[in-house]
């Protein structure tokens, strides 16, 4: 489920990259990313709307792998 204002889409291949998952968890100041037990990435839905648009997750990932959608723009 997306947030009311923000959604974050992660490319499935990127989401299974353990090193990238670790990086995403680290950089996000509002804890939108969590490491899933047994590997993989979990989006913490209740934190999506706290996104401060800092772009740190987008910069941490390969181009296009993480997208932050402003739902109020569509």
């Amino acid at each position: 489920m997306p947030g009311m204002f923000i959604d974050v889409l992660v490319d499935p291949k990127a989401a299974s990259d353990a090193a990238l998952v670790k990086k995403l968890v680290e950089v996000c100041p509002v804890n939108i990313f969590a490491a899933q037990e047994g590997g993989g990435l979990r989006i913490v839905e209740e934190n999506l709307d706290e996104c401060v648009l800092c772009d740190l997750c987008v910069q941490a990932a390969p181009p296009g792998a993480v997208r932050v959608i402003k739902r109020y723009e569509s």
Partner: protein, 400 residues
Amino acid sequence: MRFYEYESKALFARHGLPLSKSGLAHSREDARRIAAEIAGPVVLKSQVLSGGRMKAGAVKFADTPDEAAAHYDAIVPIVVSGQKCRAVLVEEKSQVQQEYYAGVTWDGRRKLPVVIFSDMGGIDIEQVAERHPDHVSKTHASTLLPPMPYLAKEAAAKTGVSGADLTRLAPIVSRLIEIFFRYDLTLAEINPLAKLEDGRFVVLDGHVDLEGDARPKHEKLLAELGIRPEETRQARPPTDFEVRGAQVDAGDHRGVAGNVVEFDGNLGLVIGAGGGSLTLFDAVRKHGGRPANYCEIGGNPSVKKACALTKLVLSKPGVEKLAVMMNVVSNTRVDIVARGVVKGCIESGRDPAKTIAIFRIPGSWEQEGFKILKKYGVEYCDRTVSMYEAAGRAVMKMKA
């Protein structure tokens, strides 16, 4: 944060200030028992957080335990300046020869503590200072040097106290100064400090104010005195709405959504910050608006926090619309607050476009915030619309 008389005296007792025999009564049976133990005439004093007890009839004298019990019943229902009686202090009645005043407080202009002493105690010290300035002394103390006993001696001597009275009074005042420093008080006051017929001095009434910001430093003392963390000790006890407001603020450390104060109007306010809230509240009232609440948001609150505050204000019966307004913000983000209040409306089952009368928060990230407000049809304005004008627009919508 004001202490009750019995709490002030408990603090004084720990530091060896001379007090009369007394006990705190929570029932008429308590009052009877304490009076019997004192075995002589007593005074019963309502424990309230305000002055003017004597005038209100909340202080009475009794010669027998039965009389004390009867007075207890008479005192308890009396409300003094909006403050309810917490308990009744039953104290030995003293044979007073003369009354003095001793107090320590802050002189905001000099930025130093000042010891105030008068040989005309028992009445309002500000009145004495106005009418008999030669009977009031003011002695400033350093905050860097340890408080020395000579300060107390000088304070008393300046009003003409001498001889045995001076040597007996000075140590009492000196201890009061130490208490003031030790517990970060904003006021430590003994009034009256009585000279008895046998020449002894006792503290008849005392009043202590602890600085709110110093509460965390003195948790242990407060716990020992039985003062609970949720006791705000403001001019009136907090309402349920205000308690829930404090919970919203405490529930999330990101930013401030605090100091929620309940009023009885129909326009809910989500306003900030410290100075901006004062300005905006005045503006709403000047336009003839009736605020449902006061509050202060700031310090960049999270979406969750702004949302929770919005829901709280909307949950108050009679709230028809919200005005969301702040001064030009630099730290708090416009888009984050916009998300919070829009979400709060929707989660309360209300249409943001109809519920938010005006959104006036210009500044940091305003373009992003305005996009959100536009999408949900909320009327907003930028910094070219003054705070006063924005408040006026909100009030107009209430009248429409």
